[in-house]
Symmetry: C4
């Protein structure tokens, strides 16, 4: 199967899985992926229900957002996805949802605090909130500027160890080495947002101890990782 | 297929979809639609379970509430629906539910504040709460007076940009250009009520900035909209 | 079909429906019903999973709790059910669950306040909490004394208009004219407990106005009721 | 069927049931069981999705953690499970999840208070939180030390009457006489954590009275138990 055809299948599957994981209402979410040669991005078409989505509906665009293949309009959020692919060469997939608990933190404009090992297994510290776009930035191209805002927020952060961000008053963007991995991170983000939300309701929060955070990151990621199966 | 038959099918589908979207418990909700010629309203029969509902069960009434076709009693809320159709010529569908989070705001008698872009995509500002009916109004015809109350509340509001309202101590009414669209707005209302409820639990709320609200409204609705597929 | 056989089927169906309505975890709930001649009560066997439950598993007991038909032990809560049947001649079915939100109010020892029309449609006022049993009462027969406690609580309340009660630190008991109707009331109770719980999180509560409560009760119950279909 | 083969089936079933009971997200949970002769422990392989899990995937290890049968790596939490089996001869199954409400209490570092009979039916008092591991303990072998921490916490507690514990900033471990029974206790733990969480939101909590706690424990467990069917 061709590189493009494989990508279209993977991106279609990941978009449909948004529903199975309870991350989307109506058509509020989209997943994209990029080819290994990093010249073509596959993304969900705008406003199409997930249950009707087929691989040939997935839109292929180049890194400037020009349609390369596909009869439908790509997601309105495409310029945000592209900004991440252009700047971050190791990112192979991006997921955007309005999943409830992550979105509550985005609306409260509060980072998701790292309160436990579930969080530490997936995100090495708080999930940050960007600043808000100015009116001028919105006029200059809302979706592309949103992408730049995320890059700005991660200029001094480790995007591989915290592969998610909250847009204030909006919702999360999440990434990974593949479309499927970005989806998995979006599932983890929603779960740890739910845990943090319910933990904060029980009293003042206690951040996870650094030695526990480090242990959970290192047993799952990096050189000495021993979680999962050898590949 | 005749205009009436098409409407009956569409209204039956929308009522059954209330269950799939998790908006109803027992028989607490109803959807109606009106013919393009605006002389016949199709509505759910009162107290009939959704899973048993078939198109021929849908009751057809005229704008005064007289049964035109159907063996069953129409929903007790029919006079509320009719008041909206008589006054608002562009409204083609009305949905009433007791969906949990929207109803919590109705019971708290608190408008649903516009805290994010999810809300702004569907409702251009807070979803208002009407005043309560007086005992005299209840005696004068509870359900019809409820309709008038909604009209009163929207006398100085834009019903196209905020297509939903909360009745204090009761629940929401939602509308749209078709029965299906009113249902979609009811799904969006419940989701944004859930988001707002969980956001308020995290701290003092920050309303969405006007320039972001305007951007989300305009990219999805109106002349320059670019969300979804060209039609 | 014989009276007993019909009752066994109806009670089996109602017990299995506890799962479909999300009212039970593990085997924490039971529904019973009584024959029209009021000599035989059919009830769930103790500790049997709902998905394995068949009509012939339902245990038939007399009003003193002696097994009339059935190979299994009846629910440990049987004496509580029997106390209600003996004292309340119009009650034909009883449902006991530990459904989450109703149980939260029971554990908080707080009546479920009547905050809206959803509540008023099913319960004409707050759902009360009984006092706690004394150690002496527990020693005298925990389950039978629990029944007497419910009767005591309703000595000056209208059990037909508020067909549910909370046991402090325990969970609800709900009743109705049939097993199916007691189940429906248990579904309604859990839904209005959820609504009240989420409403109280939004601010100081406002009880529903008496004229609205009365209107909702009277349009659904009693002589002038016009909700549902004529029978 | 051989003892090992039976155990593998039972442990596979219990792991798959984690999904059905809503206790796990992604691969965040594992169940193990031990043979009656207490020489072989069967446990989930690390990082394998539940829906793909088959009995032959279950890993068999000895009490020192050496693989006896199986092509896959055992769960990274295996040393924690083994510590419990080595010290507690009557424990036949262990379940570890990050189920939401139990994990919220673990993250809040708050014992789950015994607020009602649902809790008392399964756990005879508060579910405790252990102390946190020191950096030295983490370095000495995180998962094995976690097991010792649980043993330390139960040195002066009754592990048969409170078969669950919370690890601070982490999640619960639960046990029982078989793998299936430890799973059932994990289901009960999540349910009572949900009830406690929602009860605490309603006001200051009232612990269940000792005479009610004792009654619920004794009618379900021990010599005079009369809940369930005779065996």
């Amino acid at each position: 199967m061709s590189e493009r055809s494989q990508l279209r299948d993977a991106v279609c599957d990941a978009n449909r899985a948004l529903v199975a994981h309870g991350l989307v209402t109506l058509t509020w979410g989209n997943v994209s992926g990029i080819t290994p040669s990093r010249d073509i991005v596959a993304i969900k078409p705008s406003g199409v229900p997930y249950e009707r989505l087929r691989p040939h509906d997935i839109v292929l665009v180049d890194l400037e957002g020009r349609i390369v293949e596909g009869d439908l309009r790509p997601s309105t959020d495409t310029p945000t996805h592209l900004a991440l692919y252009r700047a971050w060469p190791e990112v192979g997939g991006v997921t955007h949802t309005h999943s409830p608990y992550a979105t509550m933190f985005a609306q409260a404009r509060t980072p998701i605090p790292c309160l436990g090992t579930t969080h530490a297994d997936h995100f090495a510290g708080d999930v940050p909130v960007t600043r808000q776009l100015t009116p001028e930035e919105v006029d200059a191209g809302y979706e592309a500027q949103t992408g730049l805002l995320i890059l700005e927020c991660f200029r001094h952060r480790d995007r591989s160890r915290v592969p998610a961000v909250l847009l204030p008053g909006h919702a999360p963007f999440v990434w990974g080495v593949t479309a499927a991995k970005s989806l998995e991170n979006a599932v983890a983000l929603e779960a740890i947002a739910h845990l943090a939300h319910g933990t904060l309701a029980l009293g003042p929060h206690v951040p996870i101890e650094p030695h526990i955070l480090h242990k959970h990151q290192s047993r799952k990621h990096g050189a000495g990782a021993y979680y999962g199966q050898a590949t």
